[in-house]
Structures are given as C-alpha cells and as structure tokens.
C-alpha cells in the first residue's frame, strides 16, 4: 500500500522561532561567521589607498607571524604570557573558592565580604599598577598580581552566586538524613555547585586574559601583551594584529579545554 498523502504543517524550517538546525547547517553558518569578516578584512586591506600601517592585510599578518616565530622567539613570549595568566588565575581561584563557599553558605560572611568585594571590583585594575610596583616590585609577581586583581573580585562574587543557587531541597534533604553542618557543605553544597563553579572558572579565565596587556605594562620585557605594546611604539601594526589574534586563539583553546573538562567531569549533565 502506498503511503497516505500527507496534509498539515511541514517540518519547521530553521527560521521558525527556536527552530531546528542540522549539524551541517550549524557548521555552514559557523564557517560563514568566520570567513565573512576575514574576507571583508582582506578586501578592505587590499583596496588602493589603504595604508598598511593603518590596516595590514591577512598576508602581512601571517608573514609577521612567521618572522616572529623564526627570528624573534615567539614561543617564549607565548609561554611567559600563559604562565602569568595561569598563575594569576590559579591563585585567584584557590582563594576565591573557599571564600565563595563561605559567602554563599553563611549570611554573616556574606554581609562581611560581599559589599566590600562589590566596592573593590569596580576599581580599575590598571590604576593599581603604581601600587603593585610599590608593594610587590617589578618582577614576575607584579604581573601575576595585576591579573589577580583583575580577576579575583569578580570571580568570588560569581562563585558565591553559584553556591547560593544550590537548591534548598538538596541541602534540607541532607539535614533530615542527619548531616551536620560540615557534611552538608562538603557533601552537598560543594558537590552540587561544582558544575556551575567550573563554568565560572571558564568565564573568568577569559577575563584573566584580557588583563594580560595591562599586566605586561609593568616593567616587562617579554610576553604577548608586552610585544603588542612595543609594536605600538614602532607602529608595527601587523605585529599588533598577530598578538591580538594569538591571545584570542589561546583563549579559545583554553575555553574549549574547560568545556571538555566539564563534559568529562559531569557526564550526567550531558545525557542527551
């Protein structure tokens, strides 16, 4: 028997509200979103009358990348920057995590620390440079300190919010099973908040990278941020482009690593 002719609504298209998008279509649009700006950049830079100092083309930037890698020890700049960002970020996370658990769990700690943190986080990290130089000096720790200042206060507040969002029923269920205060924090609140906390780490890692250039304002003589600043002095616009793009790429890779870790660590959130 032949299939009955169908009537009625068709499969919704991709432009219906919250409509479906196949994998192929997804990658198509993603590629489009990357290639169109690249094309525009390339097109604009090769127009007659556009000075390379104002807008170097993709080819110039690539050549500079190769030159930087072969002649100027690009990798040591990359590694020292990764080191500074990671150290600032890790120290920040190590202090923020226990504080956030306390702020999100105990109201007195929240009252004690949250207004203060809210106040400090609006202070510009750049403005702390003279103070950091005064107190910490001008060696590696000063760069790490700037990244710490830029990241820590936001991180604490966001993590405290993650902790506060643990469903009360999960906490109370433990209490009615006989959990004491310490056990409730350790076995329920921290465990329940973990996925959100890792997500917050991922987001704040991105912010840590945005403070790199600021951090390398402090008496640095290496690093991606420092290189961008130096290139500015010599009007090497193509080198500025390389530095910015590299920071973006490193950030993207780290972001993906965090997402991968999230999937591996919390498989029950990725069942479908």
């Amino acid at each position: 028997m032949p299939a009955a002719p169908r009537t009625g609504a068709r499969r919704p298209g991709m432009w219906t509200i919250r409509g479906p998008l196949s994998r192929r279509q997804y990658w198509l649009f993603a590629a489009l979103g990357l290639l169109v700006p690249l094309g525009l950049w390339w097109g604009t830079s090769s127009l007659a009358g556009v000075d390379k100092v104002f807008l170097p083309g993709p080819a110039d930037v690539f050549n500079r990348l190769v030159a930087w890698y072969t002649e100027d020890d690009l990798m040591s700049d990359v590694w020292i920057s990764i080191y500074r960002v990671t150290m600032g970020f890790v120290i920040s996370a190590a202090i923020a995590l226990p504080l956030a658990l306390l702020i999100g769990t105990f109201r007195p700690v929240q009252a004690l620390l949250e207004p203060l943190t809210d106040f400090i986080r609006y202070m510009p990290a750049v403005a702390f440079i003279p103070l950091v130089m005064l107190w910490v000096g001008i060696d590696e720790s000063s760069k790490i300190a700037i990244i710490f200042i830029g990241t820590f206060f936001q991180m604490v507040l966001m993590m405290a919010e993650d902790v506060r969002r643990v469903p009360l029923a999960q906490i109370e269920a433990a209490q009615t099973m006989g959990a004491d205060r310490g056990e409730t924090v350790k076995l329920v609140i921290f465990q329940a908040a973990k996925p959100a906390l890792l997500d917050t780490l991922r987001v704040t890692m991105g912010w840590a990278w945005t403070y790199l250039v600021v951090a390398e304002l402090v008496a640095a003589n290496s690093g991606l941020g420092y290189s961008i600043l130096k290139a500015q002095r010599f009007l090497q616009t193509d080198k500025i482009f390389v530095g910015i793009i590299l920071i973006g790429l490193i950030g993207l890779v780290m972001d993906q690593l965090f997402r991968l870790a999230h999937r591996k660590a919390f498989p029950w959130l990725y069942l479908r």
Partner: protein
C-alpha cells in the same frame, strides 16, 4: 494508643519588625504512633510550615512540638522528609542517592561488619520495593518524575525513620503516576510502619491516603477541622467512587473554599453562575 508527635499551642511568626506575618496560630494536634495523617488547606494556611517545624527545618515562635515526649532540636535522621522536587543529588547514581546517609558520620558510627551488610541488603530491598532495581546505576535525571520521587522515598526510608514527613511529594506528577504512587506509599506505610504526616493540596489524595485529614485555614494559619476518614484501613482505588468518599470530598472542598478568604474569586464565580442561570431562563 501511643502519641508519637505532640503539637501544643504552636505559633509561628515570620519576619520581625514592622510587618510580621502570623503563619501559624495556636496549633494543637496529637499524632499517634504509626498513624497516617494528611494536611490540606488553602494556600497560606501554614500546612507546609507545620510539617517543616516537625522536621526541624523551621522553628516555631511559641508553643512546643514533642516527638516521643522530647522537644525537637533541629532536623534529625529520626524524622525523614520527602520534598516535592529537586532533592535528589544529580551527581550520584540512584543507588548512591539511597545510600547517601552511609556517607555521614552518624551513619558510620558504631557500625559492625554485619550492619554494613544489612544496610546494603536494605538498600537493595528498598530498590526492589520501589520497582527501581533496573535503575540502580542510572543518574536521577535519566528517570521520569515518578521514578525520581520513588528514589527520594527510598532514600528517606533508608535510615528506618520513625517519622516520615512528605511535603506535596506527588504535586508535580501526572494523574496516572500519582495513583500508582498512592498505592505504593500505602504499601510502604503498612510495611515499614512509620508515623506519616503528608501535606497536599489535592483533597482526593488526602482522603484516599489519610486515616485523618487535618484541614487548615489561612490568615492566621490554624487548624480548622479534623476529619476521620470513614474508609477501611486497606484502601482500594474503587473506594474513590463510594458515596462516603464523595460526600467527604465535597464537604472538605466546600470548607476549604469557605476558609480560603478569596472573596473576589468567590464573587466572580457567583456572578458567572448567575449569568448562566439568566441565559437559561
């Protein structure tokens, strides 16, 4: 009959200062050992607050609540609680959820090898009782809402609590699943013999499950009427259609409406009925 829970002149005022809200006023009730008592009432009548006070999750501001003659001092494993939802631990498997109390200090203290084995056997037995044996290693969010609540009940029963407090445990389930859960919880009550206090907004559920139905009224939260359910101890779904059942249901619903204090809603309903009558004539 031994009294398990004694509530005497309990009052609860939320908030201090300018606008305190009287959630409970002079509530007195004795609940016998192994009884199954259900609580219904319009929203704001304090039925959940009362349950949470018994559970030690909320404190009362006047009167006293005694369990086995002793005043309650916060939550404890002798009074297990089942919540409406979000109480399971999504990072633990079904089995690990049920055995959660074994991770706690009080669950580990003074244990002999035999106790540990017995507990393991109990977890298995509870899984089987709840029809969850096949799902032992699943994560909670792989289960339907009804199955999740069965895990929550099994977990609450694990420590052999003498009192089981249930706060609208089936409120988020569909009607068919709820019927199954009703017979299951009655079975659990017969088998494990806890004293069971059960809060619901569903009058039919309250009558079908309860030996007594406590109707509470709002503003301030108080006990309005206590109904003895005129049904045999062994309940069957068909009893829901008997005249006694329906009469009691009608009576309780009418009383809830009277005490709800929702005058505007009531007036609007009357208006609609009036219009209908006029259109018919």
């Amino acid at each position: 009959m031994r009294i398990k829970i004694s509530i005497q002149h309990v009052g609860k005022v939320f908030g201090e200062g300018r606008q305190p809200v009287e959630a409970l006023k002079d509530v007195s009730l004795d609940i016998a050992d192994n009884a199954f008592v259900t609580f219904v009432g319009a929203s704001g009548c304090g039925k959940s607050t009362l349950l949470r006070i018994i559970g030690g999750l909320e404190y009362h501001t006047s009167g006293e609540v005694l369990v086995d003659g002793a005043p309650i001092m916060g939550p404890g494993a002798d009074r297990a609680m089942v919540f409406q939802h979000y109480s399971l631990y999504p990072w633990l498997s079904v089995m690990e959820n049920i055995k959660f109390s074994r991770r706690l200090r009080h669950g580990r203290e003074n244990l002999r090898e035999a106790d540990v084995e017995a507990a393991s056997g109990r977890a298995d037995a509870l899984l089987a009782l709840m029809g969850l044996s096949a799902a032992a290693n699943a994560w909670p969010n792989q289960l339907s809402g009804g199955m999740q609540q069965r895990v929550a009940i099994a977990r609450a029963l694990m420590g052999r609590p003498q009192v089981l407090l249930m706060d609208e445990p089936f409120g988020a389930l569909d009607a068919q699943t709820r019927e199954v859960m009703h017979d299951l919880i009655l079975h659990v009550h017969r088998l494990e013999k806890p004293t069971l206090a059960f809060v619901t907004h569903d009058v039919e559920e309250a009558i079908y499950l309860g030996q007594r139905v406590v109707l509470m009224a709002p503003r301030p939260g108080r006990i309005d009427t206590i109904y003895e359910v005129p049904l045999p101890a062994e309940r069957e779904q068909d009893m829901k259609h008997t005249p006694e059942f329906l009469a009691l249901k009608r009576e309780i619903l009418a009383r809830i409406r009277e005490t709800s204090g929702m005058k505007a809603d009531q007036d609007m309903l009357d208006q609609l009925n009036l219009q209908k009558a006029e259109a018919a004539s």
